[in-house]
Symmetry: C2
Subunit: 156 residues, 2 copies
């Protein structure tokens, strides 16, 4: 069994809507077609950061551009999923401070539909793809519920 297959933990996780959204976003980045023959799992693998991998990273550090890109695309996928469910256009805004601290907000109209304080961005990742799906789905649910609660602000 390859490591990639291990990560997938069965096909069901790969079928999750948030994963499909994320894969679409990553494929759209691939303007030169260099990932055409790569599997979806190959593209998602850098999101997986199990305890062994995590221990190898410094406690405090400045996130590199690749990590920030991964984080942005993850929240882009959340934003698109909220859009699909509510028809409200969502714009993400990221503010990075020093040493991996930051804030991500997803904005719909004049509403902050999701507000996330970030810590240890240089160690952004998930124990497993299932955990990624769980967290992504939770954010989508929170965002959708904020929009349903304050529709006049989201459509301002």
């Amino acid at each position: 069994m390859t490591e990639a297959a291990n990560i997938a933990q069965g096909d069901t996780v790969l079928d999750a809507p948030i994963i499909k959204e994320l894969i679409k976003l990553w494929r759209a980045q691939d303007t030169h077609g260099s990932w055409e023959n790569r599997s979806d799992i190959y593209l998602l693998e850098p999101y997986i950061l199990d305890s062994a991998k995590r221990r190898q990273l410094p406690i405090v550090g400045d996130p590199d551009p690749d990590t920030i890109r991964r984080l942005e695309l993850f929240f882009d996928a959340v934003a698109l999923s909220i859009e699909r469910e509510t028809a409200v256009m969502i714009q993400p805004m990221l503010k990075m401070n020093h040493e991996g601290f930051g804030r991500m907000v997803l904005i719909g109209g004049r509403l902050i539909v999701l507000n996330k304080q970030l810590r240890d961005v240089h160690r952004f990742g998930f124990e497993s793809l299932a955990k990624l799906v769980g967290e992504g789905d939770k954010y989508v649910k929170d965002g959708v519920s904020m929009i349903r609660k304050f529709p006049s602000v989201a459509n301002y």
Copy 2:
């Protein structure tokens, strides 16, 4: 009449609350006391960009850190003025794209109290101090009115 005095256009402008807030913020930056003997006008002078000065700047350009700092402190002053009037804590968030485009939002709770698309940030400035006060006051008014309109979101 010195250029500085010209800029001031009378003491009334310097007495505007937004100017007082801005001066306080600039003085707070001065941790080494190097501006102690400098007048308020000296600190505000870089905000003034009349047509002659503006013509000397390139049409398109990446804003330098000093210009971004000036812009941030201007919106910090707006944020503090809104806070003073509404008792809602306001956090500014700036996203800069390339070539001087960007977006500034002032956030209170889950509400975007002010949303400002930015263009030509490398040429950020005002024709006169009176114009700065006029624009700042308008932003404060807009922000306060958003909070009064959606208090439950601002206090979420």
